[in-house]
Symmetry: C2
Subunit: 253 residues, 2 copies
Protein backbone atom coordinates (compact mmCIF):
# COMPACT_ATOMS: atom_id res chain seq x y z
CA UNK A 1 0.00 0.00 0.00
CA UNK A 2 1.25 3.50 -0.81
CA UNK A 3 0.98 5.59 2.36
CA UNK A 4 1.48 9.31 3.02
CA UNK A 5 2.04 10.44 6.62
CA UNK A 6 0.74 13.88 7.55
CA UNK A 7 2.67 14.58 10.75
CA UNK A 8 6.00 13.29 12.06
CA UNK A 9 5.55 13.21 15.83
CA UNK A 10 6.02 10.32 18.29
CA UNK A 11 2.99 8.34 17.14
CA UNK A 12 3.62 8.92 13.40
CA UNK A 13 7.24 7.86 13.83
CA UNK A 14 6.35 4.50 15.38
CA UNK A 15 3.35 3.85 13.13
CA UNK A 16 5.30 4.68 9.96
CA UNK A 17 8.11 2.35 10.97
CA UNK A 18 5.61 -0.46 11.65
CA UNK A 19 3.82 0.16 8.31
CA UNK A 20 7.11 0.01 6.46
CA UNK A 21 8.19 -3.14 8.30
CA UNK A 22 4.89 -4.75 7.23
CA UNK A 23 5.85 -4.19 3.59
CA UNK A 24 4.03 -0.95 2.82
CA UNK A 25 5.53 1.87 0.81
CA UNK A 26 5.77 5.13 2.77
CA UNK A 27 5.88 7.53 -0.17
CA UNK A 28 5.80 10.87 1.64
CA UNK A 29 6.06 12.44 5.07
CA UNK A 30 4.65 15.91 5.65
CA UNK A 31 5.52 18.05 8.63
CA UNK A 32 5.23 21.79 9.20
CA UNK A 33 8.94 21.76 9.99
CA UNK A 34 11.21 20.35 7.30
CA UNK A 35 13.57 19.01 9.96
CA UNK A 36 10.95 16.65 11.42
CA UNK A 37 9.69 15.63 7.98
CA UNK A 38 13.23 14.82 6.85
CA UNK A 39 14.00 12.82 9.97
CA UNK A 40 11.04 10.47 9.59
CA UNK A 41 11.26 10.40 5.79
CA UNK A 42 14.88 9.34 6.11
CA UNK A 43 13.98 6.47 8.42
CA UNK A 44 11.25 5.19 6.11
CA UNK A 45 12.71 5.92 2.66
CA UNK A 46 10.00 8.50 1.95
CA UNK A 47 10.07 11.97 0.40
CA UNK A 48 9.92 14.82 2.94
CA UNK A 49 7.65 17.83 2.36
CA UNK A 50 6.64 20.79 4.53
CA UNK A 51 3.97 22.21 2.26
CA UNK A 52 0.58 20.56 1.88
CA UNK A 53 0.42 21.66 -1.76
CA UNK A 54 3.27 19.25 -2.48
CA UNK A 55 1.34 16.22 -1.19
CA UNK A 56 1.15 13.38 -3.73
CA UNK A 57 -2.37 12.73 -4.90
CA UNK A 58 -2.08 9.02 -5.80
CA UNK A 59 -1.53 7.26 -2.45
CA UNK A 60 -3.83 4.55 -1.12
CA UNK A 61 -3.89 5.94 2.39
CA UNK A 62 -3.20 9.30 4.06
CA UNK A 63 -2.54 8.95 7.79
CA UNK A 64 -3.07 12.21 9.70
CA UNK A 65 -1.13 12.17 12.95
CA UNK A 66 -0.84 15.77 14.10
CA UNK A 67 -1.82 17.49 17.36
CA UNK A 68 -5.58 17.23 17.87
CA UNK A 69 -6.14 20.97 17.77
CA UNK A 70 -4.11 21.34 14.55
CA UNK A 71 -5.98 18.60 12.66
CA UNK A 72 -9.08 20.53 11.45
CA UNK A 73 -6.93 23.23 9.80
CA UNK A 74 -4.65 20.63 8.16
CA UNK A 75 -7.69 18.78 6.76
CA UNK A 76 -9.08 22.04 5.32
CA UNK A 77 -5.78 22.78 3.60
CA UNK A 78 -5.29 19.30 2.12
CA UNK A 79 -5.60 19.03 -1.68
CA UNK A 80 -8.20 16.55 -2.96
CA UNK A 81 -6.57 13.13 -3.33
CA UNK A 82 -7.18 9.48 -4.17
CA UNK A 83 -7.34 6.88 -1.42
CA UNK A 84 -8.52 6.92 2.18
CA UNK A 85 -7.95 9.58 4.84
CA UNK A 86 -7.54 8.37 8.41
CA UNK A 87 -6.45 9.94 11.67
CA UNK A 88 -4.94 8.40 14.79
CA UNK A 89 -6.56 10.49 17.53
CA UNK A 90 -8.39 8.88 20.41
CA UNK A 91 -10.79 11.67 21.16
CA UNK A 92 -11.59 13.09 17.70
CA UNK A 93 -14.54 11.99 15.58
CA UNK A 94 -13.85 10.65 12.08
CA UNK A 95 -16.58 13.03 10.89
CA UNK A 96 -14.07 15.86 10.73
CA UNK A 97 -13.05 14.42 7.34
CA UNK A 98 -16.61 14.08 5.99
CA UNK A 99 -16.83 17.43 4.19
CA UNK A 100 -13.54 16.82 2.37
CA UNK A 101 -13.31 13.07 1.76
CA UNK A 102 -16.00 10.38 1.61
CA UNK A 103 -13.59 7.49 2.34
CA UNK A 104 -12.29 8.24 5.81
CA UNK A 105 -11.68 6.60 9.15
CA UNK A 106 -9.50 6.10 12.20
CA UNK A 107 -6.62 3.87 13.30
CA UNK A 108 -6.17 4.51 17.01
CA UNK A 109 -3.21 2.79 18.69
CA UNK A 110 -3.70 2.57 22.45
CA UNK A 111 -0.12 3.13 23.53
CA UNK A 112 2.29 5.83 24.72
CA UNK A 113 5.05 6.65 22.26
CA UNK A 114 8.34 8.45 22.72
CA UNK A 115 10.66 8.71 19.75
CA UNK A 116 13.71 7.34 21.51
CA UNK A 117 11.97 4.26 22.90
CA UNK A 118 11.28 1.10 20.88
CA UNK A 119 7.88 -0.57 21.29
CA UNK A 120 6.59 -3.97 20.21
CA UNK A 121 3.92 -2.81 17.78
CA UNK A 122 2.48 -6.33 17.39
CA UNK A 123 1.05 -6.24 20.92
CA UNK A 124 -0.48 -2.75 20.71
CA UNK A 125 -4.29 -2.70 20.60
CA UNK A 126 -5.41 -0.92 17.42
CA UNK A 127 -8.97 0.43 17.15
CA UNK A 128 -10.52 0.89 13.72
CA UNK A 129 -13.43 2.89 12.42
CA UNK A 130 -14.34 3.55 8.77
CA UNK A 131 -16.92 5.62 6.94
CA UNK A 132 -18.02 2.66 4.78
CA UNK A 133 -17.42 -1.11 4.70
CA UNK A 134 -14.62 -0.98 2.10
CA UNK A 135 -12.76 1.72 4.03
CA UNK A 136 -13.16 -0.13 7.31
CA UNK A 137 -11.80 -3.31 5.67
CA UNK A 138 -8.82 -1.45 4.18
CA UNK A 139 -7.90 0.03 7.57
CA UNK A 140 -8.54 -3.28 9.29
CA UNK A 141 -6.26 -5.13 6.87
CA UNK A 142 -3.46 -2.65 7.39
CA UNK A 143 -3.95 -2.79 11.17
CA UNK A 144 -3.98 -6.60 11.07
CA UNK A 145 -0.58 -6.58 9.38
CA UNK A 146 0.83 -4.39 12.19
CA UNK A 147 -0.71 -5.90 15.32
CA UNK A 148 -2.42 -9.10 16.47
CA UNK A 149 -4.75 -6.98 18.62
CA UNK A 150 -7.19 -5.18 16.28
CA UNK A 151 -10.84 -4.36 16.85
CA UNK A 152 -13.53 -2.13 15.42
CA UNK A 153 -14.75 0.56 17.79
CA UNK A 154 -17.19 3.44 17.47
CA UNK A 155 -15.95 7.00 17.90
CA UNK A 156 -17.92 7.35 21.11
CA UNK A 157 -16.29 4.31 22.71
CA UNK A 158 -12.89 5.34 21.40
CA UNK A 159 -13.25 8.69 23.18
CA UNK A 160 -13.97 6.87 26.44
CA UNK A 161 -11.03 4.54 25.88
CA UNK A 162 -8.79 7.56 25.33
CA UNK A 163 -9.98 9.07 28.60
CA UNK A 164 -9.22 5.78 30.40
CA UNK A 165 -5.78 5.80 28.76
CA UNK A 166 -5.09 9.25 30.20
CA UNK A 167 -5.59 7.77 33.67
CA UNK A 168 -3.72 4.51 33.01
CA UNK A 169 -0.78 6.22 31.35
CA UNK A 170 -0.45 10.02 31.67
CA UNK A 171 -1.80 10.29 35.22
CA UNK A 172 0.13 7.17 36.28
CA UNK A 173 3.31 8.62 34.80
CA UNK A 174 2.67 11.86 36.66
CA UNK A 175 2.50 9.91 39.93
CA UNK A 176 5.95 8.53 38.99
CA UNK A 177 7.12 12.12 38.45
CA UNK A 178 5.84 13.24 41.85
CA UNK A 179 7.41 10.18 43.51
CA UNK A 180 10.69 10.95 41.78
CA UNK A 181 10.61 14.53 43.11
CA UNK A 182 9.88 13.41 46.66
CA UNK A 183 12.65 10.82 46.67
CA UNK A 184 15.04 13.17 44.89
CA UNK A 185 14.70 15.76 47.66
CA UNK A 186 16.25 13.19 50.05
CA UNK A 187 19.06 12.46 47.59
CA UNK A 188 17.76 8.94 46.92
CA UNK A 189 17.80 7.51 43.35
CA UNK A 190 14.51 6.98 41.49
CA UNK A 191 15.70 3.45 40.59
CA UNK A 192 14.85 2.33 44.13
CA UNK A 193 11.18 2.58 43.13
CA UNK A 194 11.44 0.49 39.96
CA UNK A 195 10.69 -2.94 41.51
CA UNK A 196 7.62 -1.42 43.18
CA UNK A 197 6.50 0.24 39.94
CA UNK A 198 6.96 -3.00 37.99
CA UNK A 199 5.07 -5.08 40.56
CA UNK A 200 2.22 -2.54 40.78
CA UNK A 201 1.77 -2.78 37.00
CA UNK A 202 2.19 -6.57 36.95
CA UNK A 203 -0.34 -7.12 39.75
CA UNK A 204 -3.26 -5.84 37.66
CA UNK A 205 -2.58 -8.46 34.99
CA UNK A 206 -3.80 -10.97 37.60
CA UNK A 207 -6.15 -9.03 39.90
CA UNK A 208 -8.63 -6.20 39.41
CA UNK A 209 -6.97 -2.91 40.46
CA UNK A 210 -9.58 -2.36 43.16
CA UNK A 211 -8.62 -5.70 44.76
CA UNK A 212 -4.89 -4.96 44.36
CA UNK A 213 -4.96 -1.72 46.39
CA UNK A 214 -2.76 -1.48 49.52
CA UNK A 215 -1.35 1.37 51.62
CA UNK A 216 -2.49 3.95 54.16
CA UNK A 217 -5.44 5.40 52.21
CA UNK A 218 -7.26 2.09 51.71
CA UNK A 219 -6.62 1.20 55.38
CA UNK A 220 -7.66 4.77 56.25
CA UNK A 221 -4.58 5.09 58.44
CA UNK A 222 -5.11 8.74 59.38
CA UNK A 223 -1.94 9.01 61.43
CA UNK A 224 0.28 7.96 58.49
CA UNK A 225 -1.61 10.25 56.11
CA UNK A 226 -1.23 13.17 58.52
CA UNK A 227 2.52 12.55 58.69
CA UNK A 228 2.73 12.27 54.90
CA UNK A 229 0.95 15.60 54.48
CA UNK A 230 3.48 17.22 56.81
CA UNK A 231 6.29 16.06 54.48
CA UNK A 232 4.74 17.63 51.37
CA UNK A 233 6.15 21.05 50.52
CA UNK A 234 3.22 23.07 49.13
CA UNK A 235 -0.58 23.42 49.42
CA UNK A 236 -1.13 22.18 45.85
CA UNK A 237 0.71 18.90 46.43
CA UNK A 238 -1.09 18.47 49.75
CA UNK A 239 -4.45 18.99 48.02
CA UNK A 240 -3.63 16.35 45.41
CA UNK A 241 -2.55 13.88 48.13
CA UNK A 242 -5.75 14.44 50.09
CA UNK A 243 -8.04 14.24 47.07
CA UNK A 244 -6.54 10.99 45.74
CA UNK A 245 -6.49 9.43 49.22
CA UNK A 246 -10.17 10.28 49.70
CA UNK A 247 -11.00 8.81 46.31
CA UNK A 248 -9.08 5.60 47.17
CA UNK A 249 -10.97 5.28 50.42
CA UNK A 250 -14.27 5.86 48.66
CA UNK A 251 -13.46 3.01 46.24
CA UNK A 252 -12.38 0.57 48.97
CA UNK A 253 -14.09 -2.81 48.88
CA UNK B 1 17.88 -17.71 63.36
CA UNK B 2 14.78 -18.28 65.52
CA UNK B 3 12.15 -15.73 64.47
CA UNK B 4 8.74 -14.84 65.91
CA UNK B 5 6.27 -12.95 63.70
CA UNK B 6 3.91 -10.54 65.42
CA UNK B 7 1.23 -10.07 62.75
CA UNK B 8 0.07 -12.26 59.87
CA UNK B 9 -0.97 -9.76 57.17
CA UNK B 10 0.18 -9.43 53.54
CA UNK B 11 3.67 -8.23 54.35
CA UNK B 12 4.24 -10.68 57.23
CA UNK B 13 3.08 -13.55 55.00
CA UNK B 14 5.61 -12.80 52.25
CA UNK B 15 8.44 -11.89 54.63
CA UNK B 16 7.95 -15.02 56.77
CA UNK B 17 7.97 -17.24 53.66
CA UNK B 18 11.20 -15.59 52.47
CA UNK B 19 12.82 -15.92 55.95
CA UNK B 20 11.92 -19.61 56.05
CA UNK B 21 13.19 -20.18 52.49
CA UNK B 22 16.50 -18.59 53.56
CA UNK B 23 16.88 -21.29 56.24
CA UNK B 24 15.55 -19.49 59.30
CA UNK B 25 13.31 -21.12 61.85
CA UNK B 26 9.93 -19.37 62.17
CA UNK B 27 9.05 -20.54 65.69
CA UNK B 28 5.81 -18.62 66.28
CA UNK B 29 3.23 -16.49 64.53
CA UNK B 30 1.01 -14.20 66.59
CA UNK B 31 -2.17 -12.65 65.28
CA UNK B 32 -5.15 -11.16 67.11
CA UNK B 33 -7.31 -13.62 65.19
CA UNK B 34 -6.38 -17.31 65.56
CA UNK B 35 -7.48 -17.98 61.98
CA UNK B 36 -4.83 -15.67 60.48
CA UNK B 37 -2.16 -16.88 62.90
CA UNK B 38 -2.93 -20.51 62.01
CA UNK B 39 -2.85 -19.84 58.28
CA UNK B 40 0.63 -18.30 58.27
CA UNK B 41 1.92 -20.66 60.98
CA UNK B 42 0.80 -23.59 58.84
CA UNK B 43 2.69 -22.27 55.81
CA UNK B 44 5.90 -21.76 57.78
CA UNK B 45 5.82 -24.68 60.22
CA UNK B 46 5.41 -22.34 63.20
CA UNK B 47 3.24 -22.40 66.29
CA UNK B 48 0.16 -20.14 66.09
CA UNK B 49 -0.84 -17.96 69.06
CA UNK B 50 -3.42 -15.19 69.49
CA UNK B 51 -2.35 -14.03 72.94
CA UNK B 52 0.79 -11.96 73.49
CA UNK B 53 1.30 -13.66 76.88
CA UNK B 54 2.01 -16.90 75.01
CA UNK B 55 4.91 -15.40 73.02
CA UNK B 56 8.13 -17.39 73.35
CA UNK B 57 10.86 -15.46 75.12
CA UNK B 58 13.93 -17.13 73.57
CA UNK B 59 13.83 -16.10 69.89
CA UNK B 60 16.65 -14.19 68.18
CA UNK B 61 14.32 -11.81 66.39
CA UNK B 62 10.74 -10.57 66.81
CA UNK B 63 9.35 -9.05 63.61
CA UNK B 64 6.38 -6.74 64.24
CA UNK B 65 4.27 -6.43 61.12
CA UNK B 66 0.88 -5.11 62.20
CA UNK B 67 -1.13 -2.04 61.13
CA UNK B 68 0.81 1.14 61.94
CA UNK B 69 -1.80 2.45 64.35
CA UNK B 70 -1.98 -0.88 66.21
CA UNK B 71 1.79 -1.18 66.73
CA UNK B 72 2.29 1.04 69.82
CA UNK B 73 -0.32 -0.92 71.82
CA UNK B 74 1.15 -4.28 70.75
CA UNK B 75 4.62 -3.14 71.81
CA UNK B 76 3.29 -2.06 75.22
CA UNK B 77 1.65 -5.46 75.76
CA UNK B 78 4.66 -7.56 74.71
CA UNK B 79 6.40 -9.53 77.46
CA UNK B 80 10.12 -8.84 77.95
CA UNK B 81 12.10 -11.19 75.68
CA UNK B 82 15.55 -12.10 74.47
CA UNK B 83 16.71 -11.04 70.99
CA UNK B 84 15.96 -8.05 68.77
CA UNK B 85 12.65 -6.34 68.10
CA UNK B 86 12.11 -4.92 64.61
CA UNK B 87 9.17 -3.52 62.71
CA UNK B 88 8.49 -3.31 58.97
CA UNK B 89 6.71 0.03 58.71
CA UNK B 90 7.86 2.72 56.30
CA UNK B 91 6.64 5.71 58.21
CA UNK B 92 7.16 4.72 61.85
CA UNK B 93 10.28 5.54 63.86
CA UNK B 94 12.21 2.68 65.45
CA UNK B 95 12.18 4.74 68.66
CA UNK B 96 8.74 3.39 69.49
CA UNK B 97 10.55 0.29 70.81
CA UNK B 98 13.09 2.23 72.88
CA UNK B 99 11.24 2.22 76.22
CA UNK B 100 10.71 -1.54 76.06
CA UNK B 101 13.74 -2.99 74.27
CA UNK B 102 17.26 -1.63 73.81
CA UNK B 103 18.03 -3.85 70.77
CA UNK B 104 15.57 -2.72 68.15
CA UNK B 105 15.33 -1.70 64.54
CA UNK B 106 13.53 -1.79 61.21
CA UNK B 107 13.41 -3.97 58.08
CA UNK B 108 11.35 -2.05 55.54
CA UNK B 109 10.61 -3.84 52.25
CA UNK B 110 9.69 -1.37 49.52
CA UNK B 111 7.05 -3.42 47.76
CA UNK B 112 3.28 -3.97 47.53
CA UNK B 113 2.10 -7.31 48.86
CA UNK B 114 -1.14 -9.19 48.35
CA UNK B 115 -1.44 -12.63 49.90
CA UNK B 116 -2.55 -14.35 46.69
CA UNK B 117 0.25 -12.96 44.52
CA UNK B 118 3.80 -14.36 44.51
CA UNK B 119 6.68 -11.89 44.46
CA UNK B 120 10.39 -12.33 43.77
CA UNK B 121 11.71 -11.35 47.20
CA UNK B 122 15.34 -11.33 46.00
CA UNK B 123 14.72 -8.16 43.94
CA UNK B 124 12.85 -6.22 46.63
CA UNK B 125 14.77 -3.26 48.11
CA UNK B 126 15.09 -3.76 51.89
CA UNK B 127 15.93 -0.80 54.12
CA UNK B 128 17.58 -1.43 57.46
CA UNK B 129 17.95 0.62 60.62
CA UNK B 130 19.21 -0.58 64.01
CA UNK B 131 19.56 0.92 67.49
CA UNK B 132 23.20 -0.18 67.79
CA UNK B 133 25.89 -1.65 65.49
CA UNK B 134 25.29 -5.29 66.50
CA UNK B 135 21.53 -4.98 65.92
CA UNK B 136 22.02 -3.24 62.58
CA UNK B 137 24.40 -6.05 61.52
CA UNK B 138 21.95 -8.77 62.60
CA UNK B 139 19.13 -7.18 60.61
CA UNK B 140 21.43 -6.53 57.67
CA UNK B 141 22.59 -10.15 57.59
CA UNK B 142 19.03 -11.44 57.62
CA UNK B 143 18.04 -8.94 54.92
CA UNK B 144 21.07 -9.90 52.83
CA UNK B 145 19.95 -13.54 52.88
CA UNK B 146 16.51 -12.51 51.53
CA UNK B 147 17.35 -9.88 48.90
CA UNK B 148 20.31 -8.69 46.85
CA UNK B 149 19.08 -5.10 47.30
CA UNK B 150 19.73 -4.08 50.92
CA UNK B 151 20.76 -0.70 52.28
CA UNK B 152 20.87 1.16 55.57
CA UNK B 153 18.54 4.13 55.79
CA UNK B 154 17.64 6.58 58.54
CA UNK B 155 14.07 6.74 59.78
CA UNK B 156 13.65 10.20 58.31
CA UNK B 157 14.63 9.09 54.80
CA UNK B 158 12.56 5.92 55.15
CA UNK B 159 9.49 8.06 55.86
CA UNK B 160 10.12 10.03 52.67
CA UNK B 161 10.64 6.83 50.72
CA UNK B 162 7.34 5.52 52.03
CA UNK B 163 5.60 8.68 50.90
CA UNK B 164 7.16 8.30 47.42
CA UNK B 165 5.96 4.67 47.40
CA UNK B 166 2.39 5.81 48.06
CA UNK B 167 2.57 7.81 44.82
CA UNK B 168 4.42 5.16 42.78
CA UNK B 169 2.16 2.34 43.94
CA UNK B 170 -1.09 3.22 45.75
CA UNK B 171 -1.87 6.36 43.74
CA UNK B 172 -0.81 4.67 40.50
CA UNK B 173 -3.03 1.70 41.27
CA UNK B 174 -5.90 4.06 41.97
CA UNK B 175 -5.45 5.58 38.50
CA UNK B 176 -5.78 1.99 37.18
CA UNK B 177 -9.00 1.65 39.22
CA UNK B 178 -10.44 4.87 37.79
CA UNK B 179 -9.43 3.82 34.25
CA UNK B 180 -11.09 0.45 34.81
CA UNK B 181 -14.32 2.17 35.90
CA UNK B 182 -14.34 4.48 32.89
CA UNK B 183 -13.71 1.67 30.42
CA UNK B 184 -16.14 -0.63 32.22
CA UNK B 185 -18.99 1.87 31.77
CA UNK B 186 -18.61 1.37 27.99
CA UNK B 187 -18.58 -2.42 28.39
CA UNK B 188 -14.93 -2.66 27.36
CA UNK B 189 -12.56 -5.06 29.16
CA UNK B 190 -9.81 -3.69 31.42
CA UNK B 191 -7.35 -6.02 29.64
CA UNK B 192 -7.29 -3.62 26.68
CA UNK B 193 -5.27 -1.24 28.87
CA UNK B 194 -2.63 -3.77 29.93
CA UNK B 195 -0.12 -3.16 27.09
CA UNK B 196 -0.35 0.58 27.82
CA UNK B 197 0.09 0.02 31.57
CA UNK B 198 3.09 -2.26 31.00
CA UNK B 199 4.76 0.18 28.60
CA UNK B 200 4.14 3.17 30.89
CA UNK B 201 5.91 1.31 33.72
CA UNK B 202 8.68 0.00 31.43
CA UNK B 203 9.40 3.45 29.96
CA UNK B 204 10.62 4.86 33.28
CA UNK B 205 13.29 2.16 33.53
CA UNK B 206 14.94 3.98 30.58
CA UNK B 207 13.79 7.60 30.83
CA UNK B 208 13.01 9.97 33.70
CA UNK B 209 9.23 10.09 34.19
CA UNK B 210 9.16 13.81 33.43
CA UNK B 211 10.70 13.13 30.01
CA UNK B 212 8.36 10.17 29.40
CA UNK B 213 5.15 12.18 29.76
CA UNK B 214 2.72 12.30 26.81
CA UNK B 215 -0.97 13.10 26.37
CA UNK B 216 -3.31 16.08 26.36
CA UNK B 217 -2.25 17.64 29.68
CA UNK B 218 1.44 17.96 28.83
CA UNK B 219 0.50 19.34 25.37
CA UNK B 220 -2.06 21.54 27.15
CA UNK B 221 -4.66 20.45 24.59
CA UNK B 222 -7.59 22.31 26.18
CA UNK B 223 -10.15 21.06 23.68
CA UNK B 224 -9.41 17.39 24.47
CA UNK B 225 -9.39 18.09 28.21
CA UNK B 226 -12.72 19.89 27.96
CA UNK B 227 -14.22 16.89 26.13
CA UNK B 228 -12.75 14.50 28.70
CA UNK B 229 -14.29 16.50 31.54
CA UNK B 230 -17.68 16.25 29.84
CA UNK B 231 -17.37 12.42 29.90
CA UNK B 232 -16.71 12.26 33.65
CA UNK B 233 -19.80 11.54 35.73
CA UNK B 234 -19.41 13.56 38.93
CA UNK B 235 -17.84 16.78 40.29
CA UNK B 236 -15.31 14.87 42.42
CA UNK B 237 -13.89 12.92 39.46
CA UNK B 238 -13.82 16.13 37.40
CA UNK B 239 -11.91 17.91 40.17
CA UNK B 240 -9.33 15.10 40.30
CA UNK B 241 -8.92 15.19 36.51
CA UNK B 242 -8.41 18.95 36.51
CA UNK B 243 -6.02 18.99 39.44
CA UNK B 244 -3.77 16.23 38.05
CA UNK B 245 -3.81 17.79 34.56
CA UNK B 246 -2.76 21.15 36.00
CA UNK B 247 0.01 19.50 37.97
CA UNK B 248 1.24 17.68 34.81
CA UNK B 249 1.30 20.94 32.91
CA UNK B 250 3.15 22.67 35.73
CA UNK B 251 5.83 19.95 35.59
CA UNK B 252 6.24 20.05 31.81
CA UNK B 253 9.77 20.49 30.56
Amino acid sequence: MKIVFIGAGNLATHLAAACKAAGNNIVQVYSRTMENATLLAGETGAEAVNNLEQIRLDADLYIFSVKDDALPAVVRQMPPTEGVWAHTAGSLSMDLFAARKAEHGVIYPLQTFSKQRKVDFASIPLFIEGSNPATTRLLEELAGSLSRNVRRLSGEKRRTLHLAAVYACNFVNHMYTLASEIIGREGLPFDLLLPLIAETAAKVTEMAPQAAQTGPAIRFDEEVMRRHLSLLPDPETKELYTLISKSIHKHSI
